[in-house]
Symmetry: C2
Subunit: 475 residues, 2 copies
């Protein structure tokens, strides 16, 4: 049955999105302009994202730290390019108690400044390198238009900051962490993101280059969801991060940063959710299975529910029995809107026929299952099937919304009918990027590395093409 | 051998403390006044604290959320008592980009305001209650004098905020969470804290009453390390948090909050560390065992080290082989200053005699152990012994520094020779508390619940005594 609280996706995508956020109780607006309260259902997803990513980081040798969230203005001013990029979005603390601060401090919008200031003090020799630090924290950017998870003034993220003795090592790190983000989106979130290099115009302020992970939403709009930056020696020169190399000579360190945010939750929604609410890929679902008893105080029903719960939990499946006072119908609806991948219904009448009912959230299929079935194997396989099917459907959708443009007319036609990932060749000239942006704000998403040549000439100016680029409208 | 970087504890306790923080690489000062960088060794302890406490909270039914870190001034002003308590310590954000904010916002120093504002919107009926929310985050208090972990302008903590349908339930929650903090200190940190109620003067601004967890440092100074507050309906009246009760009548909700901070790391240091550096209780040590090979490229040595590591890891012991390029002596020193509970030395010459050497960090004892010994059982038992011994020694120290005072002269004498936990009776009059504070700033730590009467009259004024109170000098 249709969820009354949710506007149909094809009717109004933006409204549908915020309806899902509210109906699934992921987050709510607050009295603080542009800032959200992440509610238990939303925060549990972030906790699962954290736990999987953090384990991967540690496996690769990274360690966590915590730098201050304030940046004194004078320190911030040392890196010019960074300031120019971030200045309009910075929030400033200027008073404490009744006093004016001697120097105003920016609330961190990113922490390159603080990490470099730390590394400057703590790195002397190549033996101290590499430093592979990461931190989980909140950051603030004074955005004009905000939407829950997608673009919020305060958001949560992880920011990796690593320093290396050679450019080669640092570039390898930049690439490796982009691979981690891609792996995470494909394998865990069931989102077939694409990765590549940002153009000069779109790269992170102050970086030599930026690698990016780009998702395609259901409506064909693109979402940047994880970036990895190679800074070379730019920041270490600005902040004087030097070390003595193997030849006993002073050298500036090579620096990388990479980050992924609570925006990933927006991506999950806009790729997978439907008119009935959230749909969570099993590997990121805080609760993978809900077991719902039907028929009150039925010993046989309760016994089987508890047995299932025990057996499933033992094999590492996150599941629970919904023993609340609500009606079964209400429980079904709640499990559905919350996106729990598998629902097991244990009913008194069904049991007389020796069956239970299992419902998949992604397809909303209901299956009758013999009570004699090995529930652990069955559920495990079903969860894997759902994960795979969700990924496959996302690939199908992405491919359906992937286009090729050979000239500006192509580009315009695509963007005016159904946007998506648009492959087109580019000469490398910023003027062409600016021209293309005039069409509905379409931007280069990334340069396809080792991308095949699909044309000889630039989609815009017709001059010789240098890069195979993916373009699109972005959030 | 003495650690050159550490001032002896008995020579200068304050200097010793900061020396240990730096030598064990737990945290460092930054260019941001009063704010520290928590380094990998320090943050790993915080992560372990988080993981153990968070698992306990969840077991008790709490869920995590994330509220904004900014509080608009008008919202903050709704609760007068809270403002008066916190106003001098508040940091204010007033500008964004080039603009002045329409309304200045306080950086959260605690989040009662935001939680109440959220609950107001989300609670309508007794069926919505209780709400058992917690959040892990950073907070800021503009302190004048700061010291790493002990008192830092920015610190990390968890803050639980729960709302209930009855006073009884809320009071039960207040007590239960204090029990959790006590359990955590005794069982995990090996710190024999005492708990009780704060006096009116010392309670949290705006609370009906505050329960507190108080540790005694090695030098006899007290440390508040975890508090749990019962607010009754005070905050819900100020913020209009109402619900329809079972009798279908409007009622203000009953509210509790409780928190524990990175200050716990200061307590670990000041209770357990010594002149050689940090000493970590095994249950909170991120690395419980380090295995150090002695003799380069010795196949037999390396094989045994790897075998130990594999076997210990398999049983859930956090351990690693130190395969770095450093000399064995350097590795020993590093393990020692970092407080790793057990060090296993595998040497080529020792192996010829079929022995290995095991060193306890807490007592610095070295044991020769036959290679034929079952290393898993041996290490497990040793870790448990160390945990227990550290606790017992902390109890012994606490008891040695626990005194009874029957009059002001007693009090003065104790505070002037060797401070500690001072038991004394009190009439309940704030004037007496103020008088006692004149002696070296001594404050009431807590009222002992069900405390036996040790005198008939107040230690200060000589009038009839009402409460058995523990007093002391505090950080």
């Amino acid at each position: 049955m249709k969820n009354e609280a949710i506007t149909p996706r094809d009717e109004d995508f933006a409204k549908w999105y915020t309806d899902v956020v509210r109906a699934a109780k992921l987050a709510d607006y607050t009295s603080v302009k542009g800032c959200i309260a992440i509610e238990p259902n939303g925060y549990a997803i972030w906790e699962k994202i954290q736990s999987i990513m953090d384990a991967k980081f540690k496996e690769l040798g990274h360690v966590n730290v915590q730098m201050p969230f304030l940046i004194p203005e004078s320190l911030f001013n040392q890196e010019k390019e960074l300031i120019e990029g971030f200045a309009p979005e910075l929030l400033w603390a200027t008073e404490a108690g009744e006093r004016k601060l001697e120097e105003r401090c920016a609330i961190r919008s990113t922490s390159e400044t603080l990490f470099c200031d730390y590394y400057k003090k703590h790195i002397t020799s190549y033996k101290d390198l590499p430093k592979l630090y990461n931190q989980w924290c909140n950051v603030f950017r004074y955005e004009k238009e905000t939407r829950p998870f997608l673009r919020s003034r305060e958001f949560l993220w992880q920011e990796g900051h690593t320093v290396h003795a050679t450019a080669e090592e640092a570039e390898w790190e930049t690439k490796r962490m982009m691979d981690v983000y891609k792996w995470f989106n494909h394998e865990i979130l069931a989102i077939p993101s694409i990765t590549g290099k940002k153009t000069e115009k779109e790269k992170f302020a102050g970086a030599e280059y930026t690698l990016t992970n780009e998702d395609l939403m259901y409506n064909g709009v693109c979402l940047q969801d994880g970036t990895s930056h190679y800074f070379g020696q730019k920041f270490s020169k600005a902040y004087d991060v030097k070390f003595t190399n193997k030849d006993n000579k002073d050298e500036y360190a090579y620096y990388t940063t990479w980050g992924k945010t609570t925006r990933a939750i927006a991506a999950i929604i806009m790729v997978h959710a439907d008119d009935y609410g959230l749909v969570l890929p099993p590997r990121i679902a805080p609760k993978q299975v809900v077991i719902i008893p039907i028929g009150k105080d039925n010993e046989k029903v309760d016994e089987l529910c508890n047995k299932y719960q025990e057996e499933l939990t033992k094999t590492g499946i996150d599941c629970y029995v919904d023993n609340s006072e609500k009606s079964p119908g209400f429980k079904f609806a709640e499990a559905e809107v919350n996106g729990i991948p598998v629902r097991i219904e244990v009913g008194a009448r069904d049991l007389e026929k020796n069956i239970i009912t299992v419902a998949r959230r992604d397809t909303r299929e209901k299956m009758e299952v013999e009570v004699s079935t090995d529930i652990v194997t069955y559920t495990k396989e079903l969860l894997e099937t759902i994960q795979k099917d969700m990924y496959d459907r996302a690939v199908e959708r992405r491919d359906k919304l992937t286009f090729e443009a050979h000239n500006l007319e192509d580009m315009e036609k695509i963007l005016n009918t159904q946007p998506g990932f648009i492959h087109a060749m580019w000469c490398g000239d910023e003027a062409c990027e600016t021209r293309i942006k005039e069409i509905k704000g379409c931007k280069s998403r990334c340069i396809v590395e080792d991308g095949e040549k699909i044309d000889d000439k630039c989609v815009c100016c017709g001059k010789e093409a240098k890069y195979h680029v993916i373009w699109g409208i972005q959030y």
